[in-house]
Amino acid sequence: MKGLTRRLLVRLGTGLVMVWVVATFTFFLVHALPGNPGDAQYEQYLTQGMAPETARAKVAVIYGFTSHEPLLQQYTSYMWQLLQGNLGVSISYTGEPVVQVIRAALPWTLFPVLTGLVVSFLVGVTAGVVAAVRRSSRWGGLLSLSGSLVAGVPSFVLALLLAFLFHTLWQILPFGDTSDVTLEPGFNGPYIASVISHAVLPVATYALLSYGGWLLAMKSSVVSVLGDDFILASELRGITPLTRMRYIARNAILPLFTVLALSLGFMFGGSVLIEDIFDYPGLGNLLLKSIGARDYPLMGGAFLLITVAIVLANILAELLYSVIDPRVRR
């Protein structure tokens, strides 16, 4: 158990360092920008006839620092604000705190990503077992090929193809936003049905995106387990194929938890493209919109939160792995 806590602490430590590096990076990015957005805002307030002190205070609220202080002091005040969970004030969502804007967007990223993850895990792992057992037949080969192909295709290609086929060409599924805008949000039948039908395409894209990874990892894992002595022994003892399959699956599934962290990172990173295509109001969409609107506080916040999500996914994968495989704990 000691080894586990130590490894988790190391993970947590590197994760915190990463978040710190990303925060520092965005801070200096805002400073390195030509015509520093903080200064530009300050000038704009002055031309609107505001007193220099009030203008400075307003800029400080938005960015967490003013460029009239020495750089180090700006940096420390920005970091201090960040530690208190204050990411500044959004510019494009007039006056709303960045934290609030992000909190509204976060569920719309988490919900499709996690649903897609569960779907792709179930389908991909099953297909991986089949591809491993039937690896010398034509169907097994085709199944592995589908895995490598889907794993290689860029996310937006999948998203655009799905959107085009199911929305434009066959007109089966709706597209854009989270639900029909005419419906009243709440716990009622039509609204929930609309949310689900609008989520089908993004979820399918996320699922396809990580399907290949699960399939290939599960296939190679099953192939290596199939060669183990205990499988031969269970075969000789006349244990039914179904039970033997259960033995194989339980042992083969262990190395897959490294894929979990990888595909979660992949999905959160890909959310920028996927949410933009489906016009889904999640974190990635927020990041892109903030760049279009030159809303730097929001941009920094969204980028930071995507990083935090990936770091957390990594820690979670490590934790799950050691809970499931007792050998790691020692």
Partner: protein
């Protein structure tokens, strides 16, 4: 008088060795039809990238008379929002896409191999420092990072684009090379080299590198598709300024300006770049199978 004959004698040896490895490669590729198709697709796109701009010199022709025309004899893939030929745009745009992706892959291979070799061979402090850096590169959300970077740096020209892509993508290669190096360094021939007191540089460059090259080559092929996806994605989102027409710019205009998602008229315009990327992915995946067998003799014997 002796110099020319000596030169001829040494020159005569390498071609024969090369020819045997070439026949082996040909045999492996020809064994399965899928591999031939994969190689064919890759060669086709490589030729498109090299010859494309010569095939259609000059500017894109704009024809306001035929906007969003369906595929026909004159325009095989139809026309776009300005009446330009889609096929011409695809062929001309291939060079930027493939050149950038190949340069990024090359950059990734150099940095990743260097880091992986040093980390795996020296172990100890160098290893832990380099691997921390590799973990960092692997976990940082690369695509969002690229978008954020685009606010301060408009890296649209091929060299800068491939530099940025390469910098965010060398983690996987470094990790694979390191694990290969770790297992190779305990083998007999490396122990012998160390026992002979050969300099570390010689061991790494002459003994280790040739054994690792196949893995790097495979990683390289795989990373090319990833880089194509990333750069076309950046253009598609419109965060990088359009310097020339390429597949990403085409997609951007088809989806956001042409309203391809609501009108099936833009079908050829939208599908052409998508199908090109799909075909390239298929080509790489199919051909990788052959590369895998070529470099893994155990696979060759079994099948």
């Amino acid at each position: 008088m002796t110099a020319p004959t000596l030169g001829a004698a040494t020159a005569a040896v390498p071609p024969r060795r090369r020819s045997t490895s070439w026949t082996a490669a040909r045999r492996v590729v020809l064994r399965k039809p899928g591999r031939v198709i994969g190689l064919g697709i890759l060669v086709f796109f490589a030729l498109m990238a090299i010859l494309g701009p010569y095939l259609y010199p000059g500017q894109l022709a704009v024809d306001p008379e035929s906007i969003y025309a369906p595929p026909s004899g004159a325009h095989w893939l139809g026309t776009d929002f300005a009446g330009s030929d889609v096929l011409q745009e695809i062929v001309v745009g291939a060079r930027y896409v493939l050149l950038t992706a190949s340069l990024s892959a090359l950059f990734t291979a150099v940095v990743g191999t260097g880091v992986g070799l040093v980390a795996g061979y020296h172990r100890g402090l160098a290893d832990s420092v380099l691997m921390r850096a590799t973990d960092f590169i692997l976990t940082i959300p690369a695509f969002p990072l690229l978008i954020v970077l685009s606010t301060v740096w408009s890296f649209a020209n091929p060299l800068e684009m491939s530099l940025v892509l390469g910098l965010t993508g060398w983690g996987g290669v470094a990790r694979a090379v390191r694990s290969q190096t770790l297992s190779l360094r305990e083998r007999g021939f490396l122990e012998a080299a160390r026992g002979l007191g050969l300099p570390t540089r010689h061991i790494i460059v002459k003994e280790l590198l040739p054994n690792i090259a196949p893995y790097v080559a495979m990683q390289l092929l795989l990373s090319v598709i990833g880089f194509i996806g990333a750069e076309v994605g950046l253009f598609f989102l419109g965060v990088v300024p359009f310097s020339s027409s390429n597949w990403g710019v085409m997609l951007n205009q088809a989806v956001f300006a042409g309203g391809a998602m609501n009108s099936p008229e833009a079908l050829g315009y939208l599908l052409a770049p998508l199908v090109c990327i799909l075909l390239l992915t298929l080509g790489v995946v199919l051909f990788l199978d052959a590369v895998d067998e070529l470099f893994n003799p155990r696979l060759r014997e079994r099948s």
